[in-house]
């Protein structure tokens, strides 16, 4: 089992192992307790990946159903939360595919075009925190899904690179490449002056 603690923390691992065993034996209450400990953060992850709360609610239910149906295949070789997050990432991608709502990620510059006019003209003085938040959210949602997943898992959720790579279903080198590319695109979309001003 991995040494790194996830959202549930290292102190719950033994309890988690007992709950996994009960859930694998068909105890739905144990499964709810097990997965429920991660439900808020899993839902937040889906909201950020999908950019739509209603869709995230639907997908979250699907994630829990698939996790419940697949719990017999979880043997504790990885942390439960990374396994659950991986299902969430897969389902988010499937949802984006189904709804053909993949953003126009080939033109990340469009995010800059849609920044508030004031932000473009006088970024160092005029970009307020709310505007920056909106600009950041827009830049995130315009990233290719794989890039967005990398930023959300690592920079927002705080997963380590190996954990995030496992959740994303790729190798660590590929994951880091996506993460660095994503950050460069966000930087280009928001602009250096706005970032420096807001971050100082």
């Amino acid at each position: 089992m991995s040494q790194a603690a996830g959202p549930g923390g290292a102190g719950v691992l033994e309890t988690e192992a007992a709950l996994v065993a009960r859930a694998r034996a068909g105890d739905v209450d144990a499964f709810e307790q097990l997965a429920g400990a991660h439900a808020d953060r899993l839902f937040a992850l889906l909201v950020r990946l999908l950019g739509d709360r209603a869709e995230a609610e639907d997908v979250a239910q699907e994630v829990m159903l698939r996790a419940w149906r697949g719990i017999s295949g979880f043997h504790g070789h990885s942390l439960f939360f990374t396994w659950l997050y991986r299902i969430a990432v897969n389902e988010a991608n499937r949802s984006l595919d189904k709804s053909a709502r993949r953003p126009a990620y080939t033109s990340i510059e469009a995010a800059a075009v849609q920044l508030p006019a004031a932000a473009r003209e006088e970024p160092a003085r005029r970009l307020e925190q709310t505007e920056l938040r909106e600009a950041l959210s827009r830049a995130l949602v315009r990233l290719p899904p794989d890039y967005r997943i990398a930023v959300v898992l690592h920079d927002v959720e705080g997963l380590s690179a190996p954990q995030a790579a496992e959740v994303a279903g790729c190798g660590e080198a590929a994951f880091k490449s996506r993460l660095h590319q994503a950050r460069l695109r966000i930087r280009a979309a928001i602009g250096d002056d706005a970032l420096i001003n807001a971050g100082s």
Binding site: V28, F31, E32, A35, G36, A39, D40, L42, F43, A44, V47, R48, E57, A60, Q61, E62, M64, L65, R66, A67, R69, G70, I71, G73, F74, H77, S78, W83, R86, I87, N90, E91, R94, Q129, L132, R133, L136, S137, L140, V151, V152, D155, V156, E157, G158, G169, L179, H180, R183, L184, I186, R187, G191, D192, D193, L195, I196, A198, G199, S200
Partner: protein
């Protein structure tokens, strides 16, 4: 233009492009010592790359501070389909991933 001056300009342009592509690696401490020295040496004389380093560092502080600050609660019915046994769901090829894949 002498060959030495030309090569110097070429190397500077090459360093600039390379540095711009590795600002995130640098901010993460994800460069080898040699690569880090190359970027720092270039950034000392390059306004754009110096600003790029500050911007990237600011971005890494801002993303968790802005995106991660909202407290999101899972919906009450998140286990509804589990409880109902997934009635009416189509098997559309999804599923739980095998561990370690």
């Amino acid at each position: 233009m002498s060959k030495g001056v030309f090569m110097g300009l070429f190397r500077r342009a090459d360093d600039h492009q390379w540095s711009q592509l590795h600002l995130s690696h640098y901010a993460d401490g994800d460069l080898s010592a040699r690569a880090r020295r190359r970027l720092e040496r270039h950034a000392e004389g390059c306004v754009d790359c110096g600003r790029g380093i500050r911007a990237m560092r600011a971005l890494l502080r801002l993303i968790p501070a802005i995106e991660g600050r909202e407290i999101v609660r899972a919906p009450a019915g998140i286990f509804d389909r589990v409880r109902s046994g997934g009635a009416g769901d189509a098997d559309d090829g999804g599923g739980a991933p095998a561990e370690g894949t």
